[in-house]
Amino acid sequence: MKKIAIVGSPNVGKSVLFNNLTGSYATVSNYPGTTVEVSRGKAVIGVDEYEVIDTPGMYSLSPITEEERVTRSILFEEAPKVILHVIDAKNLERQLALTLQLLEAGLPVMLVLNIMDEAKALGMVIDTELIEKELSMPVAGIVAIKGSGVDVLRGMIEEYSAKIFIHKPKLNQSEEFDYNAGIKRQERATEIARAVINYEKSAGTGIKERLSRIMMNPFAGGPILLFVLYYGLYKFVGTFGAGVLVDFLENKVFGNFVNPFMIKWITAVLPVKILQDLLVGQYGVITLGVRYAFAIILPIVATFFFAFAIIEDTGYLPRLAMLVDQFFKKIGLSGRAVIPLVLGFGCSTMATMVTRTLPTKRERIIATLLLALAIPCSAQMGVILALLAGRPLAVLVWLGVIIFVFFIVGFLASKLMPGEEPSFYMEIPPLRLPQVSNILRKTFSRLVWYFKEIFPLFIFASILIWLGQITGVFGVLVRIIQHPVSWLGLPDKASVAFLFGFFRRDYGAAGLYDLKKAGLLSGNQLVVACITLTLFLPCVAQLLMNIKERGIKIGIWMSVFILFFSFGVGFMVNLILNLFHIIL
């Protein structure tokens, strides 16, 4: 099948155009570097069917990041029939340099000027026909998010692909970067831009720009961050998602209807006790696995993804990144890491995948470690906050210890790990009003991803626990874990929760929740248990993702460290609380 590759700098709307051409959905957001995986879809243009490839953002053909390398290899090895170079129309002058580089490489490029509306709002009038003449290539002007100009673009693609017969990129294009050639290209780009852009009166510094300056102000930044965290995370995800929705789904829907109905029905049709246990027993696939997945995890993760999508699409995150950069440098990361780390509060497994957008291996390893160790995912945090509800002092101690661990471990890791100090550069996109349809689609597509990856693991975990119980392995393991658990000053029953914790961190926390409801844990015990569980081994999904992204050696080594470290910290906290007779 003939291929169309969409390329361009980060944050110019490649994914929106992809969605437009194919009718399928790739994640779109207002921060650079969202497209981590290459999306592929099909589009019918004219009478032909094409495979459309949405590539990660690239600034130049000489790759710096892993993503740029991926895009480069698509262009040169997959030999697409048409390459759409998408640029942000208002940045024509700057981004045209890459167009020139693509043309020099002999690639079949078409230029797509996107976000024409924002350029127009700035008073820019762009003569696309003149660009066509100057560069002898087709040029289209579109507003992808509104779909305007896309039909014309389709027609142009049809025409263009009929015209090119042989496609022969100059394969000798070296990856080496050439300073002088870069300057020459920019000179030419500037020359063309000056010729084709006319200015009408511009609207001046708008309200968005003023708001943007406030968001980047270090003194206003703190209160804004607190506002976002309080309303976005605490109120919406914590109180509404983890409180109201979980309560409704768990107690009303599952507690009153689904579980009693399933137990009755399964017991009636399946008169084998051992299979009944598998499906509707204490740790059954339906009564535990499905209930946890749908009634506890789903509402929390869904509300988080929804809030995150809004925050993401406004363009707040790059502004947050520039505010925290200096701070993050102390833990071996740059401001760029704020994106995977914040996403980690939703799903650390997904966030570990997003660490790919970090430029050096060192930063990726440190971010992965911190995600696995000290960033609780939304599901876990929801249950932990429920566990500690009504004990503000306990919440403070838990929070204090986790933040302390986050910085100490980050600081030590940055001191111990060899490699270059990170450097920070990031485009600050304009603030945009999020579009409801995009927010909903993005939330939905992330949830679909989450369920595809995570749901089978819940079921798998239930089956493992069932197997462990009937074979007696589970009992042996629980007895083994009882020792370290008792060193933490916790009751024997808590070891069951810790064993669950290995299958899913939040599973473990949810197990503790049952203990708390039974009145088996004191305030101190709750805090120690929550701290240990937060730091404890990542869930199976994250362990697998760590191995996949960082390699088996680092993945395993990290898990062993976390295992000992989490129990060590729990032990220390318990010791200190006892030593000073503190009762929480």
């Binding site: 700057r94 980047m216 520039m322 450097s423 550069y425």
Partner: protein, 77 residues
Amino acid sequence: MGIQPLSKLHVKDKGVIAYLHTKNKSQVQKLMSIGVLPGMHISLIQRFPSYVFSIGHSQFAIDKEQAGAIYVRVAKH
């Protein structure tokens, strides 16, 4: 005013990039790839906690080390 590194400029200063100077080659490449090239007009928007500048209609945030690598011929006010 002469030529000064971006890190020495004041907020609202404007100028034209004269050259890039750093020991680190990949740093030059990074800056050039985002459009920080000799001849481009640049203006400094913010210095703290990170340097924010605009080139054309884009804004970028960078750290102090990189701001020190961009030498700007400052325009008279």
